[in-house]
């Protein structure tokens, strides 16, 4: 297991209060990665960037995370290093709001890295060259987060591992301009790293090793989650620690640890779960398959949204569901939006045409999501048709109104939680 130095921002993550959950305030940024290394009882150190007001809290806090060596790399000026998080779970874009982002400046210190076997930088608003110039011959890895390809190129540096996810700016820009092919995508990074790790949310992770010219892949472990804040950082830290000295096993263990991190916000419970994983033979975890759904395979999965999608109804939740599915590269279909809205005064022929057109869309879909804003007859009939055809039907019931057994038992799941709907879409799609 490598002794890693985690370098980057320490941030205050504030997950805003909503209807069902209290406000939660935690130290975030590289602290997420630190919790992962603490959970596997690895030696590690911290090179952190923060405003001075957090220093005492950071020192006090790390006593509970095995008291690693702490070095302050830079001071954050003009901003509190505070992120407001609208949505704890990554249903769609999570609405991260870094307060005073445009104002942020940094004052770098004349620091020395603690002795370590590898440095993992999680990029932020700070100047990465000011850190790289202090590195001796220790290998450095980089989480790209929101960097663009130009700033990576400008670094002119060969990293050990580069971590990137489907929500990163580089990936989002790439898919706007290119048909996605993993190997072509990976090849852009050939000059910049030995290994590229591409995290595909609930669809698993792919890795390209330029040393072996080989692709590795691992499934994601998906279960209902509490949050997805910092889950990618946990994945990175575990992989970076090289805990099993084997790429495939490291990926698998990182995937399980990330799942455990998403399942709780209580650090002690997280550590206990990780210790249980460590007590499980790694070959069992490797063989226990979860969900693999490559980004490029998702757009062919058409999903029928059965809902009262009418101009006299508040369709915000339908919009959110559609946006979330698009965010994960699925193809949601909204029949009323595509075929138009029937008027009561329409002729029987016109109404029949609406019916046929909607059924035609249903025929093109492989999953139905019902959105039960109220007991809309159209929604209920569409669920019935899909169920009788043995199509997977997921019922999003935000107001908890589905009581009738003919309805609830026509559906694979009934839930008030959109995140569960998304997880099921990934799981079902991976089996289609």
């Amino acid at each position: 297991m490598l002794n890693i130095c985690l370098v980057g921002d320490i941030i205050v993550d504030v997950t805003l209060k909503n209807k069902s959950e209290d406000l939660k305030m935690r130290l975030g940024g590289i602290v997420h990665s630190a919790r992962a290394l603490w959970a596997i009882s690895s030696s590690y150190s911290i090179g952190y960037i923060s405003p001075n007001y957090l220093d005492t809290r950071i020192f006090d806090f790390f006593i509970y995370l095995d008291n690693p060596p702490l070095v302050k790399v830079a001071e954050t000026l003009n901003a509190p290093n505070l992120i407001l998080i609208e949505e704890a779970r990554e249903v769609g874009s999570q609405g991260y709001e870094l307060i005073l982002r445009e104002e942020i400046k940094h004052r770098f210190f004349d620091f020395k890295f603690p002795i370590c076997a590898s440095i993992l930088i999680t990029s932020g608003q700070f100047e990465i060259p000011s850190i790289l110039e202090k590195v001796d011959d220790t290998p450095v890895s980089l989480e790209l987060a929101n960097m663009n390809i130009k700033s990576l190129t400008d670094l002119n540096y060969k990293f050990k591992n580069i971590y990137i996810s489907t929500s990163s700016e580089i990936f989002q820009t790439y898919i706007k301009n290119n048909e996605f092919d993993f190997k072509c995508f990976a090849l852009q990074f050939k000059e910049f790293c030995d290994i590229l790790i591409f995290k595909e949310n609930r669809g698993g992770t792919r890795l390209y090793s330029f040393l072996e010219n080989k692709t590795y892949q691992v499934s994601s472990q998906t279960k209902p989650i509490q949050h997805s804040v910092g889950v990618g950082d946990v994945f990175n830290a575990i992989f970076e620690s090289d805990i099993f000295n084997d790429i495939q096993k490291n990926l698998v263990f990182a995937s399980y640890t990330a799942m455990e991190y998403a399942s709780t916000t209580y650090p002690q419970n997280f550590k206990q779960s990780v210790e249980q994983l460590l007590n499980t033979p790694i070959k069992d975890l490797v063989n226990l398959k979860g969900t693999i759904l490559n980004w490029e395979h998702r757009s062919s999965i058409h999903i029928y949204i059965a809902a009262p999608d009418f101009d006299f109804v508040d369709t915000n939740l339908i919009d959110t569901l559609e946006n979330s599915l698009v965010y994960h590269n699925f193809t949601p279909r909204r029949p009323v939006k595509e075929n138009g809205q029937m008027k009561e005064s329409d002729s029987p022929q016109q109404k029949q045409q609406f019916y046929y057109n909607d059924i035609k869309i249903l025929n093109e879909c492989s999953i139905v999501i019902g959105v039960l804003l109220y007991n809309d007859p159209g929604t209920l009939v569409e669920i019935g048709i899909a169920s009788e055809r043995q199509m997977p039907v997921l019922l999003y019931d935000p107001y908890n109104i589905a009581k009738n057994c003919m309805l609830t038992h026509s559906c694979n799941i009934v839930t008030t939680n959109m995140d569960e709907i998304l997880s099921e879409v990934f799981i079902i799609s991976s089996k289609l």
Binding site: V14, D22, L23, M25, R26, L27, R57, F61, Y64, L65, Q221, T222, K223, P224, Y256, M259, E260, S263, T264, T265, Y266, P267, Q268, N269, S273, Q276, L277, N279, T280, D284, L285, N287, L288, K289, G290, T291, E388, Q390, S423, I427
Partner: protein, 121 residues
């Protein structure tokens, strides 16, 4: 209008506040939870293939791991796989055994089995 405050950092072991939703540890333990689930791959299971029928309701089941899936077992034969969201049970099996009953079966429109499971005390 005045402001409200959001207290302090609480998510570490040793936090001495009295809000159960804060602190380093929750007493909730997912390994200790009972659950109910439908099984997958019932038609291709060892049990259905050798018996040509589904087990009766109230048949006693145990949960096992067959090397690649978490499975439900009756009399030494697998009757179906648990959905992958229960993969976490593998790590729990280091400490817990799980058993229960077949709580429901259907033959139409497809063969299905629902089980109730709880950790053995």
């Amino acid at each position: 209008m005045g402001s409200t405050g959001s207290g302090n950092f609480t998510d570490y072991q040793g936090y001495s506040g009295n809000n159960p939703k804060q602190g380093g540890e929750s007493k909730e333990n997912e390994c200790g939870k009972a659950f109910r689930t439908e099984l997958e791959d019932v038609d291709t299971s060892e049990y259905y293939n050798s018996n040509g029928q589904l087990p009766d309701i109230n048949t006693v089941i145990i949960i096992g791991f067959n090397g690649s899936r978490i499975v439900c077992i009756v009399d030494g034969q697998e009757i179906g796989n648990l959905p992958t969201r229960y993969n976490y049970l593998r790590k729990c099996m280091n400490e817990f055994n799980y058993s229960g009953i077949v709580s429901n079966t259907t033959l139409s429109p497809i063969n299905s089995i629902t089980i109730n499971v709880s950790p053995d005390a």
